[in-house]
Subunit: 130 residues, 2 copies
DNA sequence: CCTTGCCTTGACGCTGACGACAAGGTTTAG
DNA sequence: CTAAACCTTGTCGTCAGCGTCAAGGCAAGG
């Protein structure tokens, strides 16, 4: 499989695949003319990378999962390093959820006050009695 | 008040203040020697900007709030444009919270399965009976 | 032979909110 | 006189994950 086909099957671009390779995440063979040649295992690797990036991981976070797959495991999740990253990411997401909830609360309060202020300084017709 | 003093009182840097000015958010006077001169109103504007950025707004989102303050309002929140942005941001935060909750759920599931897998393929001593 | 459609490496662009420096003017204190 | 401590404009660097040319090689069909 050449890079174009892999890109299509993985739902990404050739640029992205070369980028992953430059960062040491994918290791294609080379044909005689210098073309990159990928096997099915690399397709799985790329799909794993994509899935993790979609969830908000960075390329560095993805490394252990790729190594885990490459080590012959059926899932990239089951190795100790992957589990560590999963735990860390879960904690990060929890933190972020907390902060985001606080922000949401503040925005809600701000919005409520702003609308109350408008009702007060510029009462609408038929505001309380139609 | 010169730029250094404003930076300190606003808890930011001179670079940041010049950046805001370049983007049309702050309008200092100029003294004879070309130095930027700020009044107290500008301090409030800068604090409003900082507060909104801290909550995750972009500079563009901040514009209506600055204009609102500049229009003489006690709060930057009370103008229609500001309210629109507040509503939009609240919706964005809600969306993000939903997506983040889904991600959290997925990570949790992934982690649970990974750990279950380890228990299964590599049972610990004293796992179920001490 | 020439076009079409793959592929190669290399290198700059983008987004956002600044940080960090360069090279220089101004003002005040000693 | 000079050093310190302000200020000015201008420009490049940062982080991440690519997008988007540029310039060219390789293979196959008409």
């Amino acid at each position: 499989m050449l890079i174009g086909e892999l890109a299509e099957r993985a739902g990404t671009s050739t640029r992205t695949l070369r980028y992953y390779e430059a960062h040491g995440l994918v290791h294609p063979q080379r044909s005689a003319n210098g073309y990159r040649v990928y096997d099915e295992a690399e397709l799985r690797v790329v799909r794993e990378i994509r899935a993790l990036l979609d969830v908000g991981f960075g390329l560095e976070d993805v490394r252990p999962f790729v190594a885990c797959l490459r080590a012959g495991n059926s899932s990239g999740d089951v190795c100790p390093d992957s589990v560590l990253v999963l735990r860390r990411k879960l904690a990060e997401v929890d933190d972020y959820l907390d902060r985001l909830a606080a922000v949401r609360q503040q925005l809600h309060t701000q919005l409520t006050h702003a609308i109350a202020h408008r009702e007060e300084t510029c009462p609408r017709k038929r505001a309380s009695a139609p």
